[in-house]
Amino acid sequence: MAKIRGSIVVDIDKCKGCEVCRVSCPTGTIAMAKEVNHKGYFYAYPANPDLCIGCANCAMVCPDGVITVYKTKI
């Protein structure tokens, strides 16, 4: 059966580490990095990329518009 698979790309340099995306993700794909970006923020990244369903919830709520979302059927 075809499975929906998604993937996100976070513009790490522009992420402000607010975590709003993390709490809005229904699948637990996103976590905050243990290291900071050049602005000093613990940036968001797809820690569990296999779980992403490409629903774009994270991108909807990102105040800085730094998330790009892809989705396909595999």
């Binding site: 709520v61 105040p63 800085d64 790009t68």
Partner: protein, 272 residues
Amino acid sequence: MAEATGIKEIIKPENLVYKKTKIMTDNVLSYCPGCGHGTTHRILAEIIDEEGLQSQTIGICPVGCSVLLYNFLDIDWQEAAHGRAPALATAVKRLLPDRFVFTYQGDGDLAAIGTAETIHACNRGENILIIFINNGIYGMTGGQMAPTTLPGMKSSTSPYGRDVKLMGNPLKMTDIVATLPGTYYVTRQSVHTPANVRKTKKAMKKAVQYQKLNKGTCFVEIVSNCPSNWKMTPVESNKWMEENMLPYYPLGDLKVPAEETTQKTINPEKND
């Protein structure tokens, strides 16, 4: 290993479902982490893009945290003195009636120093869209009490919480302008969850489309957060907003065009 290839296969132009609109410039937003100003900008930018209005839009910037808004959306702008955006928008729209003209204002700007301009523009029914970011505080200047600050809410000028006996009641500007004959569509929304972002986009898109009808002022309030001055993390601030701001400022349409109401009665299943 297999998964890594899988992801490469997903990240392809034909699989793109969401990308920041090009109406948003590449400038880094000047807002604190998690601030609803950025989310609201993006929604507005997407609508301007989807409606093909980039070259016909003139925005009026406020004074407040969003004073630098002209750096973030690639459209034409004017900068108003504090609270005077609806007056400037009136002039711009009357001089260039074929343009889409909107103001973007905080609660200090719109509901304190600019109360008169707001009420009179709405009462005259100027053909402009007013976007009102209500975070219950003067964000830019360090978190002073605004007319919209909730009863009991702490701010730098109400450190023990707003005492309504001493400091007056919060002002519900959106409820007031909904009663004025000049307003055509009045709604209150928020941008703190994916579902609310989607609803806000629908509502704001309607407001933008209504502007083409020349039927009066559209007014969209966004109940928003100010994590920095509320002294909370962004996630905490959104939760606090939901539990405290939304009961006082309930979300939904306050005034819908009469035409829509008739349509809704004919097609009740289309209501959501």
